[in-house]
Chain length 137, copies 2
Amino acid sequence: MNTRPKYKTKQKEILLEFLEASPSPHITAGDVCEYFKSKGSPIGQSTIYRQLERLVDEGIVNKYTIDGNSPACFEYVGEGAHHEKETCYHCKCEKCGKLIHLHCEELEEFQIHLLQEHHFKMDPARTVFYGVCDDCL
Amino acid sequence: MNTRPKYKTKQKEILLEFLEASPSPHITAGDVCEYFKSKGSPIGQSTIYRQLERLVDEGIVNKYTIDGNSPACFEYVGEGAHHEKETCYHCKCEKCGKLIHLHCEELEEFQIHLLQEHHFKMDPARTVFYGVCDDCL
DNA sequence: CTAAGTGCAAAATGTTTGCATACTT
DNA sequence: AAGTATGCAAACATTTTGCACTTAG
């Protein structure tokens, strides 16, 4: 986990710029690669993966694992936003495969309950609720 | 998702037997393959994957995604799990891998909230909370 | 100059698939 | 006989890695 950046590079800069400009929680590494490829590949694929991983370590970007086989999703949250931004939770429909992301006060409360009563610190970025969505019910 | 079994095969039978005998929540498809390979390969890899997937659909086996890159874990829960025992929820520690089973009133309430406010019917048998356990905190 | 970062192509990983064969009913 | 399931090996998709090269400090 020794991933503190030492040098400031062009690649890192434009990657961050891009993420900041498209703060979707559902950007995959592949999406990023594709985007930059279409722009004349100013960043290579390995660098994208490596920088993304680093940004996750730094807490500037969140990584969500929706399901084991699909690619991981990344969400830009920014430097300062650690406490300001609401956590994004995920529900995945087992019927149609749709991914729902939601912000939920009750869930945040439950998380606290889980920690206080069950001594388990849940990680919302890794936890996905499986079930059946509205449309499929 | 048409995966209801039609024929009863030898392979399916011994796979189920094996899972039932080792009800660990940390068995991966690879583990199963390895095991059967060491037994003279009475089941091929594709069959293992295909049957496992089917068992998950049938609710006889649970599948956990620990993190996008590591292999999925399977847990035998058996036929009866669907037909209402007490609802059991799972928390999985990302540090030590421990699986915690818990019964929780708040969580059941939250489930109702999820259904009523967010129109999502969560399936507790398939949902695992990932985070960090007491010991590892 | 040195350490850190990059890019390529190749490897690793875990899982799925096409197709001919074999088994269930 | 007809419909399923199997096994192999090859295909896949995503991510990681080895190594020579470039760049920031």
